[in-house]
């Protein structure tokens, strides 16, 4: 599979062969590396530097303040509140779409027709832009004309009807439901791909041993899917830390700070309040959280292969 190594023969052909093999190799990497270093690595280093200053974006000189921004993070009530919302988002937004995807996947796998149609339909919301998802769900949650309140009134639960996004206790769950709607099709497709590899002999053996449907599901199918499930869990967690668009368009983090998450809070600090230094420190918090969860993801992916 790999190259014939450029050894042997005269030194002149050796050099030309070296250029042939390695020269081409480096030349192929160079353009990508240059673009990547300038537009990702360099700003990343700058981000660390910014986070050690109290720059406001306008001063000609960036004033070095050491770890002051990081000290401020610890006592920033709004940051901890935002992180709490991310945590709720990650827990609800990971468990529910995976559970729905698993449920639908197993239902289809147990011999239903129309696989292609169901898959196409379930995946449809996944391709929509966040702004479109936000407009759809803003409409569903509309206090007067929204489908949710209309439905509640229709089935005689009109007393439960409310402005879902205007109420601090319901706003965050309402956003998460919208996010789940836009995501469970993705979980379904990935789980379905995993189900194709579940060995039918194993399931059959369990049936002969007297396992009922639920036992087969828990003791045979779930363990067979464990790689797929861990992978999709970490992938969803990574997304849960950086969620932005749906919150920004639907509630702007409001009412008050009831739906503020770390990404919208960072955006507000850096681009609306011009606290560049502090915003950079906030973005470092996101970096660390993302590094940890994606490190886990990559290790799991390598192990699964």
């Amino acid at each position: 599979m790999q190259m014939v190594s450029p050894v042997g023969r005269s030194s002149k052909t050796r050099i030309t062969e070296w250029v042939q093999h390695y020269g081409v190799g480096y030349a192929f990497i160079l353009p990508a590396l240059a673009v990547y270093l300038f537009f990702v690595a360099y700003p990343f280093a700058e981000s660390i530097y910014y986070s050690l200053t109290d720059w406001n974006g306008a001063q000609p000189v960036k004033h070095f303040v050491g770890l002051a921004n990081y000290a401020r993070l610890l006592s920033d009530h709004l940051l901890w509140q935002s992180l709490g919302h991310n945590l709720v988002w990650i827990i609800m937004g990971t468990i529910s779409p995976i559970a729905i995807g698993l449920f639908l996947g197993v239902l289809l796998w147990s011999g239903a027709r129309g696989m292609v149609v169901f898959r196409t339909v379930y995946f449809l919301p996944v391709i929509l832009a966040e702004v479109v998802v936000a407009i759809i769900w803003n409409w569903i949650y509309h206090p007067l004309m929204g489908a949710l309140n209309q439905l509640l009134r229709l089935i005689g639960l009109g007393s439960l009807a409310r402005g879902w996004l205007g109420n601090p206790t319901t706003a965050l769950p309402a956003l998460i439901v919208a996010a789940i709607w836009a995501y469970y099709g993705f979980c379904f497709v990935v789980i379905m791909a995993g189900l194709q590899n579940v060995s039918l002999e194993l399931v059959e053996a369990a049936t002969i041993d007297g396992a009922n449907a639920w036992q087969r599901f828990v003791h045979v199918i779930i363990p067979e899917l464990r790689h797929v499930l861990t992978m999709i869990t970490t992938l969803t967690m990574m997304g849960g830390f950086s969620v932005f668009g749906i919150v920004f368009v639907m509630t702007q983090g409001g009412p008050g700070t009831a739906t503020q998450v770390i990404a919208t809070y960072t955006y507000r600090k850096a681009f609306q309040e011009n606290s560049i230094g502090y915003g950079a420190a906030l973005s470092m918090v996101m970096t660390v959280l993302s590094l940890v969860s994606s490190y886990v993801f990559i290790r799991l992916r390598e192990r699964g292969e």
Partner: protein
Amino acid sequence: MAMTAQRIRGVRRRRPARYWVFKFFQYGALIFFALLCIIPLFWIVSTAFKTTAEVAANPLGPPPELHWQNFVQAWVQGRFGKYLRNSIYVSVPIVLGVLGLACLAGYSFARFKLPGGNIIFYVFLLGLMVPFQSIMIPLFYILKDIGFLGTYWAMIMPSIALGLPFSIFFLRAFFLALPWELADAALIDGCDEVGVFWKVMLPLAGPGISSLAVFQFMGAWNSFLLPLIYMQKEELRPLVLGLMFFRNQYTQNYPLTMAGATIVMLPIVVVYVIFQRKFIQGLTAGAIKG
């Protein structure tokens, strides 16, 4: 759940009542979740065809008659034609840029055991773990300093750079799985390394490249935070961003907002339904192997 018994025992001639109860719940649940995906989209499109008064009278039902003027008004006042062009002008270069650079680099990592190659590969992998938010603030000032801010390049170049780590990771794995005897045979036949890449191996990677193209295209097309920060100028806005400002401008005019949303959503939905297999393959490329 997990009623695989029928499949395993084979089809029986006379099915017990339990079977039909199961089938009822099976299809009931499958159809329920399918409707959950479709009906909200139907509301968007149907609202777009109503007048404001009709929406207030009957917000959820089908439109009594088709009023096309919302679409005309949205298209003209919302400048969606302009935003559509902007989306194309940035998405196409992003996809081509990412694919071009990542094919070269991914191939190189798979083909040559370069001294230091592993270290460079890990540097790229590190980028897989860094969210856009960790670089968005300084990148704004860098783009400003090099004069990209206020041009399409402000979105194109960062998006290419951010798309590279995953694409290289993905393509390297794809190239590694190809039959390399063909490359060696071509070398013996007098082909040089560039020729081996271009004429032999790259065509073999077609399926992987097209999946990646879909992935990158959808990422660029639906990208939101990046243009929100770097494409603030009205005449640069891509569709998604244009839609958000349009909605903020006509908050109370629901039919008009929905007409805008339909214009943004419909082309992608149509293309998706036609090429659903490729779309699903591409968008799950990171989570499903190969």
